[in-house]
């Protein structure tokens, strides 16, 4: 079998893994709590009782929902599979470690992308205008992959308890939300605040969303996409490398 057909075959099989993850893990308690309930209630706590326009709120809500949902499944799959010993089954099957990891990322991406369509749909139902739909769509896809890869990096430590990984990922996810221009737009942040915000990939997606919904981003769309692309590549490579290294330790 030549390397190209092997690559195609493994890509197909990572879709099989993704479908399996969607089917088994979407309805798990921690995924629903950390992926949907947390961002919604956190945002409500911020927005309720304040006089914000929907144009201002939606980019932040969209960013938060996409970030939380995309990072909800990918960190938990590996410990769940380790605990149930199904990871051993997958490793002994004709799959590479990268195929398994990519499957986890794809499932997480699909979850984040689909759930983030709900607030977007609600905004559209309220006659919200999207100025550059293609950029928003592209941003959702790229950021979804980026956050899913980030989520997978959280579970690289060979822990077998999903709660350990969830706690670890929450410790990182919450501060990220506060530095990414969701509650306070980038242009209102002080200089040091802006510098901190640039280390968060969520900053760039929120800025894309503000461009497309509010028509007033802080950075240019090109910079936002380039930064998101770089973060996605970095997280993907790190997630693959770290999991390839720690996967045998899980068995």
């Amino acid at each position: 079998m030549d390397s190209f057909s092997t690559l195609v075959q493994q890509a197909q099989r990572s879709l099989v893994i993704a479908r399996k993850n969607i089917r088994i893990y979407y309805s798990k308690g921690p995924v629903v709590i950390f992926g949907i309930l947390f961002p919604v209630f956190l945002f409500l706590a911020f927005a309720v009782g304040r006089d914000f326009s929907i144009q201002f709120m939606l980019p932040g809500l969209l960013g938060m929902v996409l970030f939380f949902t995309s990072t909800a499944i990918s960190p938990a799959v590996a410990p769940w599979e380790t605990q149930a010993r199904t990871l051993e089954r997958l490793i002994s099957s004709p799959l590479t470690a990268s195929t398994i990891i990519l499957g986890d990322i794809l499932a997480s991406f699909a979850f984040g992308f689909l759930i983030s369509l709900i607030p977007l749909g609600a905004g559209l139902a309220l006659s919200l205008q999207i100025h550059t739909p293609a950029a928003l769509f592209g941003g959702l896809i790229l950021a979804g992959f980026c956050f899913s890869s980030l989520g997978l990096m959280f579970s690289a430590a060979p822990a077998t308890m999903p709660s350990t990984i969830m706690m670890l990922s929450s410790m990182i996810k919450f501060p990220v939300v506060f530095i990414s221009g969701i509650f306070i737009p980038l242009k209102q942040l002080p200089g040091w605040g802006k510098i901190i915000s640039y280390i968060s990939p969520l900053t760039y997606f929120t800025d894309i969303a503000r461009h497309c919904i509010q028509n007033e981003g802080y950075l240019s769309l090109g910079v936002d996409f380039l930064a998101l692309f770089a973060f996605t590549g970095l997280f993907l490579i790190l997630a693959l490398k770290l999991h390839q290294k720690t996967m045998p330790e899980r068995i």
Binding site: M1, R13, I24
Partner: protein
């Protein structure tokens, strides 16, 4: 008592005439810290053979299976599975695995577990459906195929795992203690399945610590102890190897002194068992001749005379004696 010895030729005395090799293992080594779990073991398994891997707990059986199935990497040595390096996609595509612990997805049905494995192995959908129907009937789980695996008993789960390993019609099957802790029905069903697989031309690599299972099923057995292979032979030959454990059991029509039996040529030990004597010998035939000569000379009648060969368990204990 019995010196541990390693066979020179691991391929010796295969009971079947096989074309080529399914498994070639050479100098395979795995260490966990300072502990050597598998110590430079070498053996070969022919196609269509049922090869037993027998050893006490912690001997290195599961570690070996995990290396051969690509779950863990060896620290040294080489293992080739049906022409592909152990752990390679080529080798894994041709192999089915039944691990020591059941590992089906509990939150989906048995049927969906089989379909998932079929997709992972790239089995065409129509073929997978047909094969799954056939397998569910064979493992006697057809009525429960739509139930979540969470509701299955241990035996049912293990039968499902066997079916999952066979959905891709593998050329070689690795089974790690497949009947351990199972009910009689499930264990018998799995053993029957293994025999059937061999008759269909599949190669089976079976680890077990159940002597009778190995005795009934395996063409050849490797005995592993503390990470070292101490013998590889067919079960009958392994038993025969424990020469000093052959014995002649005899009872006489009148009282005989134990010391006088010690004097007989070829008899190494004499043990009194009720009204009988058990004479341990490496050569039962010659021991019987000298026993008959003794009874004629001493004018003693023989009431009963039996030769006893050591069991596989005796052989196992002798070979793994520390």
């Amino acid at each position: 008592m019995y010196p541990r010895k390693k066979k020179e030729s691991p391929m010796a005395d295969s009971p079947k005439k096989h074309g080529s090799l399914a498994l070639q293992v050479s100098g395979l080594t795995k260490k966990y810290g300072n502990v050597t779990a598998v110590n430079a073991i070498s053996f070969q398994v022919k196609k269509e053979e049922i090869f037993g891997f027998l050893g006490p707990n912690g001997a290195g059986k599961t570690t070996t299976v995990r290396i051969l199935t690509g779950v863990i990497k060896a620290d040294g040595g080489k293992a080739v599975v049906l022409g592909g390096s152990a752990g390679s996609l080529k080798a894994k595509q041709k192999a089915g695995v039944v691990p020591e612990m059941t590992n089906a997805y509990l939150d989906i049905s048995g049927w969906d577990n089989l379909m998932l494995m079929a997709e992972i192995y790239g089995v065409p959908k129509r073929q997978a459906y047909k094969k799954a129907e056939e397998l569910f009937k064979k493992i006697e789980l057809y009525p429960q195929k739509g139930q979540k695996v969470r509701t299955y008993s241990k035996g049912m789960k293990q039968r499902l795992i066997l079916a999952m390993s066979l959905i891709s019609d593998p050329e070689i099957l690795f089974l790690d203690e497949p009947t351990s802790g199972l009910d009689v029905k499930s264990a018998r069903l799995i053993r029957g399945f293994i025999k059937e697989l061999s008759s269909q031309g599949k190669t089976v690599f079976l680890t077990t610590h159940q002597m009778e299972e190995a005795n009934q099923l395996c063409d050849r057995i490797a005995i592993i102890d503390q990470g070292n292979i101490v013998a590889i032979d067919p079960p009958e030959k392994l038993r025969a190897e424990i020469k000093e454990m052959h014995s002649v059991e005899v009872s006489f029509d009148r009282k005989v002194k134990t010391e006088s039996l010690y004097q007989l040529p070829q008899v190494s030990t004499v043990e009194r068992v009720g009204d009988k004597f058990r004479l341990y010998t490496s050569s039962p035939g010659e021991a019987i001749v000298s026993l008959v000569n003794y009874t004629s000379r001493e004018n003693v009648g023989i009431i009963s005379l039996n030769t006893l060969t050591p069991s596989l368990e005796d052989a196992f204990l002798a070979l793994t004696e520390r």
